[in-house]
């Protein structure tokens, strides 16, 4: 798995099925290992990616995920961008509330993913799709 991943470039994965969500998890795990995240942090970022990729699939109607190894001069990290051109999120505060779900889930994916990473940025508007960027730094 590790072989063949060029860390200098973003690795893209389209998200159109459950199998693709599994592929996103594997890709994120590979890069997380490569930038030397601890086992706990690997698990956290893989889990966050699983949540966000599934939201991209279920609510965004599919989209793309881009995984990049980054470095801020002091420490390496992993950056992941989830993009879809679905309906967007009307009330972001509500969507980020623990337990809020419109799809019969636990309503913890979005809020939980935010707690699992170090940086979390979300850009969304009704009819404009959703773009979420997360970073997890190596400690």
């Amino acid at each position: 798995m590790t072989s063949g991943v060029d860390l200098g470039r973003p690795q893209a994965q389209t998200v159109g099925s459950d199998e693709d969500v599994v592929r996103v998890r594997q890709l994120v795990r590979t890069v997380a290992v490569a930038v030397k995240l601890s086992l706990v942090d690997q698990t956290k970022v893989v889990t966050a990616a699983s949540e966000l990729a599934r939201n991209t699939l279920v609510y965004g109607g599919g989209g793309t995920v881009e995984v990049t190894a980054v470095d801020n001069g002091r420490k390496p990290g992993i950056k992941i961008v989830f993009a879809d051109s679905g309906p967007g999120i009307v009330d972001l505060d509500l969507a980020l509330t623990d337990g809020y779900t419109t799809g019969g889930g636990l309503g913890l994916g979005l809020s939980g993913a935010r707690r699992l990473v170090d940086e979390f940025d979300i850009q969304t508007a009704p009819g404009q799709g959703t773009r979420i960027t997360v970073i997890k730094w190596s400690r």
């Binding site: 956290k44 699983s50 949540e51 913890l108």
Partner: protein
């Protein structure tokens, strides 16, 4: 592309009068395609059966492969593709062995260079193409059902429910717990609870690489269903990194007992049921 009545009967006539030559040439082409992976006797049998079914269909006036008169021929072709798909031949090899008939027909018609013969050859070729495509499709259908069967078997294999102790069953989960597998796990666990009359079930997640909200929801549903049947579930195999991730995500397992390892879970159950284990002497849990 259907054959006219005249063309059908001319082809039937050719196949009958030149039966030996046609089947021989056809067998040769097929043998070249399948390169010794089918015995000569089997090849000869298949070609003769095809030859007979085709001649019959044309003799009854079949205009193309979809005709009522070609029912038997279609059955023979389907049988041939099923056999080859199961024996591991490729779809191309299977279809190409049908196309071998063209070589054989060409060899017979070549001597006569008239325009009428050429027209006949084109018409016959059209029918052979139809047969080849039909074979290809049956082949793919067989393969697809083989793959589906295997996937189902794997699903079953990867979700064993084992009886650990009198009254205690365990499900070790390994790999990705997607919705399809979660459904199988739940069904098998519930069935085993009924079959064994066990009051305890241990769900071991040591082999699950990431526990996200979907996995958690599947586990929670399974636990609730087991409870409705009067059984208590314990979740085991919660490694440190998974524990920290679950907490950060905000997932709550409520009053469901959780243990670090399968052994801990079993010990916990045995203590509840009053069985003494050698590691911990009678000391009762509060």
């Amino acid at each position: 592309m259907a054959l006219s009545a005249d063309e059908s009967s001319r082809l039937a006539e050719l196949l009958t009068s030149r039966a030996t030559q046609v089947t021989q040439r056809w067998t040769e082409v097929m043998a070249g395609q399948l390169r010794g992976r089918l015995s000569q006797a089997e090849l000869v049998r298949q070609v003769q059966e095809l030859h007979r079914a085709l001649t019959d269909a044309l003799g009854k006036g079949a205009a193309d492969l979809t005709a009522e008169e070609a029912t038997e021929l279609r059955a023979v072709l389907a049988e041939l593709s099923r056999g080859q798909a199961r024996q591991g031949f490729s779809a191309t090899e299977t279809a190409s062995s049908i196309f071998g008939l063209k070589d054989a027909l060409l060899a017979e018609l070549e001597a006569d260079q008239s325009v009428g013969t050429l027209r006949d050859y084109v018409a016959f070729s059209g029918l052979v193409d139809q047969m080849g495509l039909f074979t290809f499709e049956s082949f793919v259908r067989t393969r697809e059902s083989l793959i589906a069967d295997q996937a189902e078997q794997l699903l079953e294999l990867s979700t064993p429910v084992v009886k650990l102790w009198e009254g205690v069953v365990a499900v070790p989960l390994v790999g990705t717990l997607d919705s399809a597998r979660a459904q199988v796990v739940m069904e098998r666990l519930l069935q085993t609870l009924v079959d064994t009359g066990s009051p305890y079930a241990i769900i071991d997640i040591t082999g699950v690489p990431a526990v996200d909200t979907q996995v958690a929801q599947h586990i929670l549903k399974t636990v609730v269903a087991a409870r409705l049947m009067g059984a208590d579930c314990i979740i085991s195999g919660i490694r440190p990194q998974i524990a920290q991730t679950i907490v950060a995500l905000g997932i709550e397992f409520g009053d469901i007992a959780t243990k670090a390892s399968l052994a801990d879970a079993l010990r916990h159950v045995l203590r509840l049921t009053g069985v003494e284990t050698s590691r911990r002497q009678p000391r009762r849990e509060a």
